[in-house]
Assembly symmetry: C2
Homo-oligomer: 210 residues x 2
Amino acid sequence: MAVARRDSFDCHALSFDYGQRHRVELDAAARVAQSLGALKHIIVPINLRVFGGSALTSDLAVPKAGVSAGIPVTYVPARNTIFLSFALAWAEVLGSSDIFIGVNAIDYSGYPDCRPEFTEAFEQMANLATKAGVEGRTRIQIHTPLIQLSKCAIIRLGAELGVDFRLTHSCYDPDQKGRACGACDSCRLRRQGFREAGLEDPIEYISENF
Amino acid sequence: MAVARRDSFDCHALSFDYGQRHRVELDAAARVAQSLGALKHIIVPINLRVFGGSALTSDLAVPKAGVSAGIPVTYVPARNTIFLSFALAWAEVLGSSDIFIGVNAIDYSGYPDCRPEFTEAFEQMANLATKAGVEGRTRIQIHTPLIQLSKCAIIRLGAELGVDFRLTHSCYDPDQKGRACGACDSCRLRRQGFREAGLEDPIEYISENF
């Protein structure tokens, strides 16, 4: 969102209450949306627990032993497809042609729906799914400004653009107070990114060693 | 679903409570799913009224003057993209590679997300969005057995396959008892289809003349 604001876009922010165990991220999303000047922030309730199939939307345990090869159990089937579909619906109602999503295909867990092949195919489909495709109006664009950046580069970019990282949340398995576990893939990638960027991560972790 | 059953598929049925004014269609979906032997029928609540933008999900009036050129106000932005995204999520959890959707691009209201270009682009995207795409497993297929049939041909096919049309619902603007209005696009296309097929439509209409 900071990149979109830098590029002079007026932003409508969209988050999902999808049954994720780290539901606390929605409070962080609201704080961040406000701090970066979103015109509106909608949280859409969609219960992906009806399907299950992921450690984030069921009772499966979140792995804590380190980022490993292959697609981990934290993968939520078709999550980004669902998220982008709702964004597409809202964009069409608003008459907007630009959708931003913060996916990353470098320092990530190997999720298929974080790769450029996926977002490009989604963009192509989106232009056939909507009025834009039939009436030949403005082409819908899926922007992925972070997709080819390392976590270190993402953090440096955020810092340059004035992102207040105290407002943010990354952990998949926070405690009841919303504190980050420090050991899940998402915490590990974040902490390593801050370390490599030479910046201090301002959020609190339950466990300091990993 | 009758076509999928004819072709020996075990079926999981999926419907959406998306804020549609013809919510009564969900009771019909449950009856039809049961009568055709669905292993399971899930109704996913997703509130598309948060975005609005359609006569089906807002207080805009449903047109009753007849099917006209262009995309009508009953178009729900990105609806089939959202529906297929959830189907994709469930298919991936089930380990299924076949998704059926009853869209039609002949006797329809001109919705962009009912055309073959759209469903083909969705299929391509789906295979990049999921584990199937990364791990090179079975290809996901979007089946659209009705897409190139006239409404008359669809009704004849249904009758051949033993569909009990008394259980079905098509109207966009039913009354409080769930009776079809007889005058919206969906009622008009259905009634004309039955007439052309030389079959009697067994459901009740509020208005007999259109």
